[in-house]
């Protein structure tokens, strides 16, 4: 039973066909990576899945229910979480307050309970010491971690990550990989990862979907995708053959 | 029918003035992203520059108008250095309040210099009339429409046929890219402000003979210019013209056929209607990352 499904998603921006009949089915508990060259439509797909953009055709299903036109905040309340490319945090709030925004997702929580839940997430991710710092005083890598904490505080069942490793140094990437691995071990969390960092993708993904020019050109286990000629030619150009690897 | 054609000419004349004010406003907005809430006071300065040169200094028409416009150009440059440059990185609201503050200063400087009694700024074609479609119309109204058309033509030439104008359009579209292409961006931005001041000057000189020259005239003009740009389409020059004409016509026709007291309500009602239904106005604005 799929938890998140994109069915025949099409999106056009003026003359540009950003996505063309893209199909993606995520089963509960899976770790799926979505990769592809720049401009392939990955972030657009993510925006459609999360309701920030409406598709021109196709449907988005969550737990079998059609959420194609559902408002973004309602999708979050149903269990869909997301982080953004380059990270989006709230500049005027402290680290703790940023995460408390997410923890407030449960309407019945008291202020104290929200605070405790947020602190718990920060603790898990190793950021408890900076709880009262202003967001602006953190390094880029730590800020992205705070964003991840906020998304986790929303208690998602499916977490969509948009290039979480972009701009991180290799030490920070390792940390991120460790944290994500821990998360998966601790709770039943479905993760969809958009990434360019292939090392990270190969370490974490159970399945990889490849987009190119708005179309899905491959979908399968990492080893299979790595050897797929369509994928290789999308990244490296035509005329490339396996022998030159 | 004579009545209607008179109203139409009146409406187009006033509309032309609004259009000129709106064009200046749009030029500055497109190039710099600034919503200039002192736009009305710019026009008021134009009228009073005319008063200073033609009435106080008693210059003859050509040099009087020329001197007034030169003064406006200088003022535009001053505004660029004193107001725009220090604030160009500030958030939009700060700039709005700042331009309002400067507008207040402008209004009071005019008050101190010229006093609170309204002046009558005469027109070069004072007292002449023209007969159109059976109606007798003051020649000045026709002159206003003609002058506006000429100005629009000159602007078109500037923006589409001269390197300077093309540079200004480039800056308006993508300031970073313009910089990277080696355009002297600050100079072009200053020119945008000077051009806006000049247009406001022309508008003021045209408006003087129609209304009275009054230090408080700026606010109503600004409101009409804003309505014109919203209706016509915020970043669009043709939009400013169409919007200006529309506001002028609806004001004059509204006053006659509906109610004189509520005539302004009609323009603003339409403006709000556009904002709610079609905020990009008739000609639309390029979707940009501006607040």
């Amino acid at each position: 039973m799929s938890i998140l499904q994109a069915r025949a998603i099409t999106k056009q921006f003026g003359g540009l066909l950003a996505l063309s009949a893209v199909e993606l089915t995520i089963a509960a508990g899976e770790f799926v990576a979505v990769i592809g060259p720049n401009g392939a439509g990955k972030s657009t797909l993510l925006n459609i899945l999360t309701g920030l953009l409406m598709p021109d055709g196709g449907q988005v299903l969550f737990d079998g229910k059609d959420i194609t036109r559902l408002a973004t905040h309602k999708r979050v309340r149903s269990g869909l979480g997301r982080t953004f490319q380059h990270g989006r945090t709230f500049a005027r709030l402290t680290v703790l307050e940023n995460v408390m925004i997410g923890a407030a997702i449960r309407g019945d929580r008291t202020e104290r309970a929200i605070r405790d839940a947020a602190l718990a997430v920060l603790d898990q991710m190793g950021l408890a010491a900076e709880a009262n710092e202003s967001i602006g005083s953190l390094s880029y890598g730590r800020r992205r971690m705070v964003e991840l904490c906020r998304a986790l505080a929303c208690e998602p069942r499916v977490l969509l990550l948009d290039e979480p490793a972009a701009g991180l140094n290799s030490g920070e990437v390792d940390q991120l990989v460790d944290r994500l691995t821990e998360l998966r071990a601790r709770q039943q969390l479905t993760i969809v990862l958009i990434e360019h960092n292939m090392g990270m993708v190969m370490r974490l993904a159970e399945r990889i979907a490849v987009l190119n020019f708005g179309r899905k050109i491959a979908d399968g286990p990492p080893a299979q995708v790595q050897a797929d000629p369509a994928v290789l030619s999308a990244y490296l150009g035509h005329g490339y053959n396996r022998a030159s690897v | 029918m004579a009545d209607l054609s008179q109203l139409l000419i009146n409406g187009l004349a006033i509309g032309s003035v609004y259009a000129l004010a709106a064009i200046g406003f749009v030029i500055v907005y497109s190039a710099t992203g600034v919503v200039n809430f002192a736009a009305g006071q710019f026009v008021m300065f134009g009228t009073f520059a005319g008063v200073a040169m033609l009435i106080n200094a008693r210059l003859p028409w050509p040099s009087g108008y020329g001197a007034a416009l030169a003064a406006m150009a200088l003022f535009g440059a001053l505004f660029f250095f004193v107001v725009y440059l220090p604030l160009r990185k500030s958030p939009i609201v700060t700039i709005i309040v700042a331009t309002v503050a400067v507008g207040i200063t402008m209004q009071n400087v005019a008050l101190l210099t010229f006093g609170s009694w309204p002046f009558r700024l005469p027109s070069p074609v004072e007292g002449w009339t023209v007969t159109i479609a059976g109606t007798v119309v003051p020649a000045h109204f026709v002159a206003v429409i003609v002058v506006t058309a000429v100005m629009v033509g000159l602007l078109w030439l500037l923006f589409y046929r001269t390197p300077v104008g093309i540079g200004m359009r480039a800056v308006a579209q993508d300031i970073q890219a313009a910089r990277l292409m080696g355009l002297k961006v600050n100079r072009l931005l200053a020119l945008s402000w000077i051009l806006a001041a000049l247009l406001a000057g022309v508008a003021g000189l045209m408006l003087g003979p129609i209304w009275f020259a009054d230090v408080n005239m700026g606010d109503p003009i600004a409101l009409k210019a804003f309505a014109a740009t919203i209706i016509g389409g915020f970043g669009s020059l043709p939009g400013a013209i169409v919007g200006g004409m529309f506001v002028g016509l609806s004001e004059v026709l509204g006053a006659s056929y509906v109610s004189s007291a509520y005539k302004d309500l009609i323009s603003f009602g339409i403006m709000i209607g556009f904002l709610l239904v079609r905020p990009q106005g008739v000609f639309g604005e390029r979707i940009q990352d501006r607040g």
Partner: protein, 325 residues
């Protein structure tokens, strides 16, 4: 919650102290400051927190004032009852108009609210039967407590300070609650706020309605104190003044709202020695403050006790953010 109580206590004490030493003329200004402060605290919710550029705030003040004026002078209601109804009606109006209006952003919203303010003025000035036109409505009754009318500058100041204190406390409570944080989040990054489960539209409308409630209360107090309302008291110039008060005082802070209201009410007075040029200087001073003190007066406080990193985040400029490729 200790700091807010402390701040409120300081402000109220200062006010009471001044009420005992200042002459009537300055007390009048102080009263106007208090009324403006209440209105600007409201504007802080809409603009300071939620980032809604409202140039129509004075119209809400006017709706409260005229509402009370009409209900008391034309229908003989008691001012308290009239205040309750006028405030509720203004809030309801704000909620209704917020639905279509708050889809707009930035300068579009600014111009739409400006248009509303101007429309309010035109109606108030021309619907003579209801509003008395430009002559306004006079002989508005004063508020009474336990049979005693709140008349005169000093008693009104004490009453006004009490109301201000109450509203300040409530404002602080909202600021430190999930609702206040949600408003701040909406302004800082609307997309991220939506992605954190915040209903952005509802949050904006709530902020707008909250601002209207404060404005209407301020309007009612104004009406009962000055006992006369006219359209010029609620023109868009006043809306800009409220915005300026907030920015000069320190936007998105409650203390800033109060400071800004006081400073900008008294500044023209302090500049009177400049004679007829004082308004021109007022404009220039405003410009100088905006250039040199972008965080306003309250922002100076950040450089005091803990010398934290000077790059304290400024409120996000109200611009549309891109969604990404």
């Amino acid at each position: 919650m200790r700091v807010p109580f402390l701040i409120t206590a300081v402000i109220v004490s200062a006010g009471v102290l001044l009420s005992l030493v200042l002459p009537d003329y300055h007390l009048r200004l102080l009263n106007l400051s208090v009324v403006s402060a209440i209105a600007v605290i409201g504007l802080n919710f809409a603009f300071g927190y939620a980032g809604l550029i409202s140039l129509g705030h004075a119209a809400f003040v006017g709706m409260g004032a005229y509402g009370l004026a009409i209900l008391t002078t034309r229908m003989g209601w008691s001012p308290w009852r009239a205040m309750l109804v006028a405030t509720t009606a203004t809030a309801a109006f704000a909620g209704l108009i917020g639905l279509p209006l708050l889809r707009l952003k930035g300068h579009y919203l600014a111009l739409a609210t400006l248009g509303l303010n101007v429309s309010f003025y035109i109606v108030a000035a021309n619907w003579i039967d209801l509003t008395g036109g430009t002559n306004g409505i006079s002989r508005i009754p004063e508020l009474t407590i336990a049979g005693r009318a709140i008349a005169g500058e000093r008693p009104f100041l004490w009453f006004g300070l009490a109301v201000l204190a109450a509203i300040t406390i409530v404002a602080f409570m909202i600021h430190t609650s999930r609702y206040g944080r949600a408003m701040i989040a909406v302004r800082d990054d609307e997309t991220a706020a939506a992605m954190s489960g915040i209903d952005v539209t509802m949050t904006k409308i709530a902020a707008f309605v909250l601002s209207a409630v404060c404005a209407a209360i301020a309007g009612c107090l104004f009406a009962c104190h000055v006992r006369f309302v006219a359209p010029e008291d609620f023109s868009y110039a006043h809306s800009i003044t409220y915005l300026a008060m907030l920015i000069v005082g320190g936007e998105s802070t409650i203390v800033g709202a109060i400071l800004g209201a006081a400073v900008l009410t008294f500044l023209p007075e302090w500049l009177r020695f400049l004679g007829s040029a004082y308004l021109a200087f007022f404009g220039l001073m405003m410009l100088a403050i905006l250039v040199f003190l972008p965080s306003g007066i309250a922002g100076l406080g950040r450089y005091l006790p803990r010398l934290r990193s000077p790059t304290r985040a400024a409120p996000a400029s109200v611009s549309a953010k891109e969604l990404g490729p």
